[in-house]
Symmetry: C3
Subunit: 106 residues, 3 copies
Amino acid sequence: MIAVVQGEDAQRTSEALTAGGFGSTRITSSGGFLQQGNVTFLIGVEDSRVAEAVQVIRDNCRERSRYLTPMPPVPEPGEFFMPYPVEVQVGGATVFVVPVDSFEKI
Amino acid sequence: MIAVVQGEDAQRTSEALTAGGFGSTRITSSGGFLQQGNVTFLIGVEDSRVAEAVQVIRDNCRERSRYLTPMPPVPEPGEFFMPYPVEVQVGGATVFVVPVDSFEKI
Amino acid sequence: MIAVVQGEDAQRTSEALTAGGFGSTRITSSGGFLQQGNVTFLIGVEDSRVAEAVQVIRDNCRERSRYLTPMPPVPEPGEFFMPYPVEVQVGGATVFVVPVDSFEKI
Ligand SMILES: Nc1ncnc2c1ncn2[C@@H]1O[C@@H]2COP(=O)(O)O[C@H]3[C@@H](O)[C@H](n4cnc5c(N)ncnc54)O[C@@H]3COP(=O)(O)O[C@H]2[C@H]1O
Ligand SMILES: Nc1ncnc2c1ncn2[C@@H]1O[C@@H]2COP(=O)(O)O[C@H]3[C@@H](O)[C@H](n4cnc5c(N)ncnc54)O[C@@H]3COP(=O)(O)O[C@H]2[C@H]1O
Ligand SMILES: Nc1ncnc2c1ncn2[C@@H]1O[C@@H]2COP(=O)(O)O[C@H]3[C@@H](O)[C@H](n4cnc5c(N)ncnc54)O[C@@H]3COP(=O)(O)O[C@H]2[C@H]1O
């Protein structure tokens, strides 16, 4: 399982995964669209517990509004460009469930 | 989809993926051989659009020469070791298409 | 293949993978439980060489003891809390073998 969550939810999600008995690894990342920092979790989990892990993430990640200030096109001399920030909804989490052939601790 | 691209191509590739309507997450990484910085993209895409996403990457990533200066063996006293930089071709991008069982936004 | 290894073993493992003819990409990460830095490797490898790559990791990663100092509960005034560090065994490596549909260099 690979889950991309917002930075504000990362610590709470990590602690909730540990409390739920799930192993996880945390990777610093950034979003392709907003180019703002977020966090990607790798979570190795048995098939039977996938739904439970998804619920832990759902309980600890919130939707938020973010503001994106569009870059002004090249202003004409004397022209004053006042970019209005555009509100963008960023979801709680983006979750990919990836099948694995094997999982082992060496 | 997981795509490893050179640092110089990362911003252009990210913008082209967004313009093409693809979601993506960007992760800072480094190559095992040259030990130089590069960028790893996670790109969740429907099966029917994989070829299109690969084409976006192909259009925005170039092959380049890099120079690797081999570490001199321990020089004998009085011996002067002048390492010649070795030219290494680094490809446009290394792309893994990984099947996923499910993809959801929470 | 995705392999999470301890920081101390990362450089030796990376060089051993290259010497064994395996390509790899290195990503800085941290553990969900101990919240300490570690390293995640992406290793694209043909099916026939998976066991060999696992052996390279096994030969270069050691188990270690780590100390986790539990955070004291909020101490009462005048009470002196002396947290005893708790010893935790951290394994050599955590390895996921992930099937891929395709692998190409562009
Ligand atoms: N072309 C576009 N036009 C208009 N609005 C757009 C857009 N692309 C994204 N957005 C909006 O911006 C939010 C942040 O996207 P970002 O790429 O920075 O950050 C993303 C990205 O890091 C990751 N993500 C989302 N979809 C992904 C995918 N298909 N593949 C890989 N990562 C993905 O999850 C984060 C949050 O995504 P979420 O969908 O909740 O929230 C998204 C979405 O609501
Ligand atoms: N043992 C060796 N002997 C001689 N030359 C060698 C070599 N290993 C790699 N090279 C050359 O060095 C370039 C950079 O490799 P690096 O590992 O730093 O950076 C790599 C690595 O980060 C990633 N990559 C390539 N193959 C991979 C694989 N099988 N698994 C994971 N990541 C891979 O893509 C980057 C670019 O790879 P690309 O093949 O285009 O370019 C490679 C290749 O041309
Ligand atoms: N809830 C818990 N209660 C008591 N002890 C616990 C625990 N969770 C983890 N530990 C112990 O702490 C060590 C470090 O875990 P950490 O999460 O920091 O660092 C982990 C994590 O980054 C990664 N990892 C392990 N299992 C994983 C999984 N299922 N999914 C993703 N990453 C995993 O491999 C690193 C080393 O794991 P390893 O199992 O060798 O070693 C683990 C384990 O022995």
